[in-house]
C-alpha cells in the first residue's frame, strides 16, 4: 500500500473509532432512559407520584387474572419473579394477553401500591412453533 493510501486508511480508522466512541457515549448516557418500562422491583423502590404516567412491565402471574363478567374491568398481577404489582385496567385486552406471558402497561401508581393502567400491551416472545410442537413441549414439562 502506498503512503498516501496508508494515510487515508489511518484517517478513516480514526473516523470510525471516533464515531463508535461517540455512539457508545450517547448510548451509555441514555442507558436508563431508553428502557421502555420499569419492573415491579424498580417501581417498589422508586418514589413516583400519583399523576405521573409510567410504564410497568413483567410477566402476568399464573391464576391472577380476575375479569368482571359485566364490565370490561380486569385485575391481574405482574411479576418479575421478585416483586409483584397489582394492575387494574378497564378496556379491551390484546389477543396475546395471557398468563405467563409478557405484558407492558401504562398508567399511574396509586398510593395503595396498586397500578391503574390506561393501556395494556402484550409482549410476544422469540419462540415460534406449530401448536402440535407446543403441546408436546408442555407434556414434557
Amino acid at each position: 500500500m502506498n503512503p498516501i493510501r496508508k494515510q487515508r486508511l489511518y484517517a478513516l480508522i480514526a473516523v470510525l473509532i471516533g464515531s463508535l466512541v461517540a455512539t457508545w457515549l450517547v448510548v451509555s448516557a441514555l442507558s436508563e432512559n431508553m428502557n421502555l418500562f420499569y419492573s415491579p422491583t424498580e417501581i417498589k423502590d422508586a418514589k413516583v407520584d400519583e399523576v405521573t404516567l409510567i410504564r410497568a412491565g413483567g410477566m402476568v402471574k399464573e391464576d391472577s387474572i380476575i375479569k368482571d363478567t359485566r364490565t370490561l374491568n380486569v385485575t391481574f398481577t405482574v411479576t418479575d419473579y421478585q416483586n409483584d404489582l397489582e394492575i387494574n385496567y378497564e378496556g379491551i385486552l390484546p389477543d396475546l394477553f395471557a398468563e405467563n406471558a409478557g405484558v407492558v402497561v401504562r398508567g399511574n401508581l396509586k398510593k395503595d401500591g396498586t397500578f391503574k393502567a390506561i393501556e395494556v400491551l402484550a409482549k410476544h416472545d422469540e419462540n415460534y412453533m406449530p401448536p402440535e410442537v407446543a403441546k408436546l413441549i408442555n407434556e414434557d414439562l
Partner: protein
Amino acid sequence: MGSPPLFYKWSSKILPWLSIVSILILGVGLYWGMFYAPTDYKQGDVYRILFIHVPSAILGQSIFMFMAICGFINMIWRAKISGMMLKSAAPIGASFTLLALVTGSIWGKPTWGTWWVWDARLTSTLILFFIYAALIGLHSTIEDKTKADRAVSILSIVGIAIIPVIKKSVDWWQTLHQPSTFTITSSPSMSPDMYQPLLICVIGFYLFFALLLTLNLRNEVLEREKNKNWVRQLFGGLS
C-alpha cells in the same frame, strides 16, 4: 469488473439470469411461508408477516454495512465504481428499512395492541431510516459527483455505529420488541418448518437486492460516462 465498461458488458449477460433466479426464489420462499408453513401456537397466522418483516430488517442493516464497505474502498483506493455502488445501494436500503418499519407496525397492532412504541429497537431502526434519507439527500445536493461520493462515503462510515446499537438494543434495554430468535450461541427458537421458508425468503431478498443494485448501477454508469467513447460506441451516437 472494476472498470465501468467492463461492468456494463458483464452485467448485461447476468441480468436476465439474476432476474429469473431472484424472482423465482423470492416467490418460492413467500409462497411456502404464506401457505405451507404451520400456524404459530400463540400468534396464529399473523406471525406470517415475519416472512417479509425479518428479511427486510436484515437487508436494511446489511445494505448499510455494504455501503460502509463501499465507502471505505472509495476513500482509500478511489475506485470510481465503488462510489457509484454506494449511491445506487442507498435507495434500496432505505426501501427495505421502511418496509421493515411498516410491516413491523402492521404486525404490532394485532399482537402488541399498538402500531408504534418508542422502544429502543423501533427507535434505532427509525434512526437508520433517517440516516439513509440523509445519505440520499446529501448526495443529491452536491453537484460534483466525485465529491458527493466522498461525502456519502464518510457519512456511511460514521453511520455504521448505529448497526450494533440496533442489533443489541433488545439485550441492552427493556423493549416491547422481543429478543432475537436466531443467535450464534444457541439453536434457533423456531421450529424447522418455519425457519426453512424464512431462510429461502432471506436468500430471495438478497438476490433481489443484487438485481435492484445491478439495475441502478447500470443507470449510474451510463449517466456518468455518457461522454465516454465506449458509451457512444454502444449506443450509436457517433457524431
